[in-house]
């Protein structure tokens, strides 16, 4: 794990360069440019609101649009970062086969642009919240921690997933399907409160659920997140990260051979 930090520091220039390239490549030549960064969560939310608001059974204190948008912002970060991360090695096979540098830099550089998009969307979200009268609250101090937990989860999955994808390219094909499923199975479009008793335990197994709920608790309900909603994902994400990175380094030496 310390190796991860050392490598990041030593190759920080490369990481920055690749990230900037990644960001430029995403929006260069498009007319809307940076606006695309916020497009996905925004439009997805709009569609969900149009389609699902009749089914809204959750908290009365918050309107459905606000609920959905804040969930979407978090979800989009997860989905795009993991998609990018998992295919980062196969996308850069030409580099891996020719030159040596710590391969995790590629995964990190793939995950960074979605993080930047998230920050833009978050700004928009905050503006909307302030406009609706929700002001800063000290529970918002939890936000960086929740983000850190989410990033650990994303990286853990990306490290293990990218390596798996090198051996079995099917992974990147199956991923969109899995993500769609996960989106519906997590309390993204609906609140955790609405989940029936017998399923509640299962929902706790999904770290993403806890992350999204905690995020909403802090921002919309203006309170600190539930202990189990926060601690379980925290633990799971750290385990994912440590394990994922271990697997990644174990397979690093054969990457060039298999690609």
């Amino acid at each position: 794990m310390i190796m991860l930090f050392n490598n990041i520091v030593r190759y920080r220039t490369l990481l920055v360069e690749l990230t900037i390239d990644g960001i430029k490549a995403r929006y260069k030549g498009t007319v809307l440019g940076v606006l695309w960064a916020i497009a996905q969560p925004l439009m997805l939310s709009a569609f969900c609101i149009a389609g699902f608001s009749r089914m809204w059974g959750g908290r009365a204190s918050v309107s459905y649009p606000l609920f959905v948008y804040s969930s979407m912002v978090v979800w989009t970060l997860f989905a795009t970062a993991v998609s990018n991360g998992v295919s980062s090695l196969t996308q850069n096979s030409h580099l891996i086969k020719k030159i040596y540098f710590p391969r995790e830099i590629l995964v990190l550089a793939a995950v960074a642009p979605p993080l930047v998009d998230f920050l833009f969307s978050f700004l928009l979200l905050m503006s909307v919240l302030i406009y609706s009268g929700i002001l800063f609250h000290k529970s918002m101090l939890f936000l960086p921690m929740i983000l850190a937990v989410q990033m650990s989860l994303i990286l853990g999955i990306s490290f293990a997933g990218s390596l798996l994808n090198v051996i079995l390219p099917d992974v990147s094909r199956a991923l969109p399907i899995a993500l769609t499923g996960l989106m519906f199975l997590s309390p993204v479009l609906y609140s955790y409160d609405t989940v029936g008793g017998e399923h509640r335990m299962l929902y706790l197994l999904n770290p993403l659920g806890g992350i999204v709920e905690s995020f909403r608790n802090v921002l919309l309900d203006q309170r600190a997140p539930d202990t189990q909603m926060f601690l379980i994902p925290l633990l799971m994400s750290l385990i994912f990260l440590a394990l994922g990175y271990r697997i990644f380094k174990y397979g690093e030496s054969i990457m060039a051979d298999v690609l």
């Binding site: 030593r10 220039t13 490369l14 360069e17 260069k28 580099l95 030159i99 030496s253 060039a256």
Partner: protein, 401 residues
């Protein structure tokens, strides 16, 4: 004696079946199987600081695998590898360069890939640009660069990364003359100031001239290591015994690597004499043709076919032409012929390199086969009086005063 590189009974294998579930099982369990291909078997050698160390051997000897292990791109399966110091690979120049970015941006990117920090790159920026001679093109995207410019950029950055050990591939012979000289001078300067060089080459003469110690590889096995003079002598002796076998017969069939299918691939290369028969040996100024047979998977316009004839690693003659792949060509064997009505090559041993790419984009070719076929030119009585490598129309005339 300071050892900077040490290989100790190193083995490297490649698994042939690398697809699907069998791949996962192989990966997890590491079991040997009959699909194993041992690229390197029991290789041990040492490189000392300040050495100019050569690695010679024919195709398939395992040289590129050794280089990959040295560069850190892959890892050996058995045996110990010790490298002390930073490796500067002067191979695969251009890998990692992004055609969409400008020259300036690529310098930073390429330097970063080689492990330089932003500060280091900024300090050396002027030097790199001056060396490459690409100052006026710094702000142009790389996709507008010619192949030569590409190589210049790659080389200029790679050579300024301040490495301890330089890995040099004789492919540096490709590129324009003046720059090539600059490259060689820079490499010499590096060596003179105590740097270590590892040079990989097919040409025994090059190795004997430029290195003090070397390693001779043949089909994955180590044939010997020691002072270059001795080893090259052994190598030449062994080659002499092999003349008239295999590649020198005038024809070679090529197999596609499984899992690496490209749009167009080479099937066969042949050297033909006046009668159109494959031959490994020609007399000077006779008729010679090189037939390149290929097979395509998709229609493609603007495919560039290039052929280079080298001798002792030096680029003697090369030519390129465009071909079109029409839908009726798919899956069929097609060929193109480079014909010399009276070839210019004199007595000696020559090697042919063939490649196909799209629109001069040699950094990402459809296929590239270095030294795929060789031929020799035998002297005849009437041509004995000429020295050198090439003969051209000429006449001596007395000036009338």
């Amino acid at each position: 004696m300071d050892t900077v590189v040490s290989f100790d009974h190193v083995y490297k294998r490649y698994r042939r079946r690398m697809k699907g579930l069998s791949r996962i099982c192989g990966f997890l369990m590491g079991l040997p199987s009959k699909d194993d291909f041992w690229a390197i078997r029991d290789v041990s050698f040492d490189v000392h600081r300040g050495d100019s160390f050569g690695i010679i051997g024919g195709n398939g000897a395992g040289k590129s695998t050794l280089l990959k292990i040295l560069a850190g791109v892959t890892k050996q399966n058995k045996g110990g590898v010790r490298v002390s110091g930073r490796i500067g690979p002067l191979l695969e120049l251009g890998a990692g360069l992004n055609p969409k970015l400008t020259g300036r941006e690529n310098i930073y990117l390429y330097g970063a890939i080689h492990g330089m920090s932003r500060g280091e790159i900024r300090k050396k920026f002027q030097e790199i640009v001056a060396f490459s001679g690409l100052e006026p093109f710094l702000d142009t995207p790389l996709k507008h660069y010619s192949t030569g410019m590409f190589l210049r950029l790659g080389f200029s950055v790679a050579v300024h990364t301040d490495p301890d050990i330089l890995l040099v591939d004789e492919v540096l012979a490709v590129g324009d003359g003046a720059f090539q000289v600059k490259c060689l001078k820079k490499i010499d300067k590096f060596h003179a100031s105590g740097g270590t060089i590892i040079l990989v080459s097919h040409s025994p003469h090059l190795v004997r001239h430029y290195t003090n110690r070397c390693l001779w590889m043949e089909e994955g096995e180590m044939k010997g290591t020691g002072p270059s003079q001795d080893l090259v002598a052994d190598y030449l002796r062994a080659i002499g015994e092999h003349n008239g076998e295999g590649k020198s017969e005038g024809a070679i069939d090529l197999e596609e690597e499984p899992g690496k299918e490209t749009v167009v691939s080479l099937i066969r290369v042949r050297c033909l004499d006046e009668q159109g028969c494959p031959a490994g040996s020609f007399t000077p100024r006779s008729s010679m043709a090189v037939e390149i047979a290929y097979r395509a998977r998709r229609p493609q316009a603007g495919v560039l076919v290039g052929l280079a004839i080298l001798r002792e690693g030096i680029y003697v003659f090369g030519s390129k032409t465009h071909i079109e792949i029409a839908p009726e060509d798919i899956g069929e064997e097609r060929s193109i012929i480079l014909r010399f009505p009276r070839h210019p090559f004199l007595n000696g041993h020559y090697s042919i390199t063939v490649g196909m790419c799209r629109d001069e984009k040699w950094y990402n070719p459809y296929c590239y086969h270095k030294d795929v076929l060789s031929f020799g030119v035998e002297p005849t009585k009437e041509y004995m009086r000429f020295d050198g490598w090439v003969l051209t129309e000429h006449s001596w005339e007395k000036e009338e005063t």
